[in-house]
């Protein structure tokens, strides 16, 4: 229990530091909030001064941070520099799309990856195993935006088979979810396969077999359970990978989620939106790795994390 508290405390520390980083990035970036709204060459200095006063830019830096955090914790991320809407509303609109897309990809990656890995491992050297090895190699080498463009070219432009742009219906989800899932699926399949193969060759498996326990029972009760550990720890890493991939996949398929929103905000230098999204992404990654660590301990009691800093 004390580990759980320590781990959560550590996550909060990391989030605090991450918020410092996003705050600093916002201040450091050239063109302060004021100069991106007003043209400094054509605005009288007193107007700029008044804006600065209004936005609290004349306060000492630590106080600006305190104000910023106080606002963030109340869910107030400021307003977009471009369409003047509250950042919170903008992100709330986009978040749903990203959650749906990332969840679909996550389900595809694990729902198809774990069984594929297990079947390949149980039939090691068989045709299924070989096919899986080739397919995963291919998916791991082809960058996902290249895969996306190929699918768009073939299914969308040539065959007009599936919608390739926008989010007007459920069919729009198919291509982006498949592209997003390709790489995590390959990795999940491989890690699962390796883990199961390792457990199949373990001494305890042979002992159980020698004592007359049936293969099915060994596989279900022992091998799969023990092979779960690396798969679970992979899961929390995959969340970060998926979020990174959504940036580019959402742009290609013009999926109106947080990824394409972040890219837009960055290209337009809409700093309030960009920094809020960055903070949110960091929060998701930190939560994912915390939950992953806690799950790992629940699944595998042997982990007393003698290598982890907090034990």
């Amino acid at each position: 229990m004390s580990y759980v508290i320590k781990r959560i405390g550590y996550a909060i520390l990391i989030m605090f530091l991450a918020s410092l980083v996003t705050f600093a990035a916002l201040r450091v970036a050239p063109g302060s909030a004021v100069t991106s709204i007003l043209d400094p060459a054509r605005t009288p200095p007193e107007v700029i001064e008044r804006y600065k006063e209004e936005l609290g830019l004349n306060l000492p830096i630590w106080q600006q941070y305190v104000n910023y955090m106080a606002n963030v914790l109340r869910g107030n991320f400021g307003t977009s520099l471009f369409d003047r809407r509250p950042v919170f509303d903008l992100i709330a609109d986009a978040a749903l799309y990203t959650v749906v897309l990332a969840f679909a990809a996550f389900v595809l990656a694990f729902g198809l990856g774990v069984p594929a890995g297990v079947i390949a491992a149980l039939n090691r050297g068989g045709w299924f195993d070989r096919v899986i090895r080739w397919v995963t190699s291919a998916f791991m080498s082809i960058p996902n935006f290249v895969l996306a463009l190929l699918l768009v070219a073939i299914l969308g432009v040539k065959l007009r088979f599936l919608p390739v742009s926008g989010a007007s219906g459920p069919a729009n989800l198919i291509l982006p979810a498949l592209v997003l899932a390709a790489d995590p699926w390959s990795l999940t399949t491989r890690v699962t396969r390796t883990a199961v193969v390792e457990q199949l060759g373990a001494d305890y498996t042979r002992t159980l077999r020698a004592r007359g326990v049936s293969r099915t029972r060994i596989n279900w009760r022992h091998v799969l359970r023990n092979a779960l550990t690396p798969v679970v720890s992979l899961g929390s890493v995959q969340i970060r990978t998926l979020l990174g991939y959504t940036l580019i996949v959402e742009v290609i398929f013009r999926w109106p989620g947080m990824g394409s929103q972040l890219v837009q905000a960055i290209l337009k230098r809409d700093y309030p939106v960009a920094s809020a999204l960055a903070l949110l992404l960091a929060l998701v990654v930190v939560i994912a790795s915390t939950v992953g660590d806690l799950l790992l301990r629940a699944v595998d009691p042997r982990i007393r994390s003698n290598q982890a800093v907090i034990s």
């Binding site: 550590y10 463009l149 390796t194």
Partner: protein, 296 residues
């Protein structure tokens, strides 16, 4: 009476004894040589691309969207009538140069932080872990933007942003390795002889970490090439005059209804390069640690 010296028969695996040879060289060695030759070819592209500048910048607006195998343009031309073969080669050169830069920076930083975290006491370990976890929380594209703010968008921005995010995962692996290396007898011996920690790190840790470093460095080059193409595709990486596989892909997407050829070409070259580097990384891994390699 003479006692005969009995040598116990060494258990050589079947596969080791009868390896097929072509020209006296085993097949895995041939594969290794082939992969190295391809890598050397990549290096050549990097070095020579700037010299052929006028070939990949020449525009001809009368000859846009030429299909492959056109006269004078074996791979066709793009929307500005630039030769796609030269554009792709030059873009590949840029990508590989970026990949090498990222790998070098990330590996150097990761080695330093990993060794310090694993060997220089608890305070250093806690601090480095916090830095790693904070770094890990941000996607690379975000850092790319911060740097784009300072330095303007471009390849230097891409290299710094990718290196400053990618080192974290590598550093974690190095720390784990150092934790096991520090328990070795020769490290204790060096301690007893009065060596300080820096000397031990340089003398004992770095050489022993080289295999895993090399394997991961090659992997980083591949990852950075993909990331650079991705950032350039989004418009944050290479800026218009600079050739880049990512920008070629982005243009290709804009004209996808007209021709799919540039996308196939740039995407194919990108994929094959990544495939090459990944197999080099796998081969290196197998070479340094056959136990891991065989398990694949």
């Amino acid at each position: 009476m003479v006692t005969s010296l009995v040598i116990a028969p060494v258990d050589v695996p079947e596969s080791r004894r009868h390896k097929k040879r072509i020209g006296g060289i085993t097949i895995p060695t041939w594969i290794g040589v082939g992969l190295l030759a391809l890598c050397a070819l990549l290096g050549l592209v990097v070095l020579l691309a700037p010299a052929f500048r006028n070939l990949w910048t020449a525009q001809d607006l009368r000859a846009t969207f030429l299909p492959p195998l056109s006269s004078g343009h074996p791979f066709g031309t793009d929307n500005l009538g630039r030769d796609l073969m030269w554009r792709t080669l030059a873009g590949l050169g840029v990508s590989v140069a970026v990949g090498l830069g990222v790998a070098f920076l990330a590996v150097t930083l990761g080695l330093m932080v990993g060794i310090v975290g694993g060997y220089f006491g608890r305070a250093a370990d806690v601090t480095s872990n916090i830095v790693i976890d904070v770094t890990w929380a941000f996607p690379a594209i975000l850092l790319a933007v911060v740097f784009a703010g300072w330095l303007g968008p471009g390849l230097l921005t891409v290299v710094l942003a990718l290196a400053l995010t990618e080192w974290a995962g590598f550093s974690r692996i190095i720390r784990g390795e150092v934790l096991s290396l520090r328990e070795r007898d020769y490290v204790s011996a060096a301690r007893v002889l009065g060596r300080n920690k820096v000397a031990i790190s340089l003398r004992h840790f770095v050489p022993n970490l080289l295999p895993v470093t090399l394997v991961l460095a090659v992997y980083f080059v591949a990852g950075a090439i993909v990331a650079e193409a991705g950032l350039s595709f989004l418009g944050i990486g290479a800026q218009p005059p600079t050739p880049s596989l990512g920008s070629t892909l982005a243009q290709g997407r804009d004209y996808l209804t007209r021709t799919w050829w540039p996308v196939i070409l740039a995407g194919g070259v990108l994929t094959l390069t990544v495939l090459l580097l990944n197999s080099v990384s796998d081969q290196l891994r197998e070479h340094f640690d056959p136990r891991i390699g065989r398990r694949r």
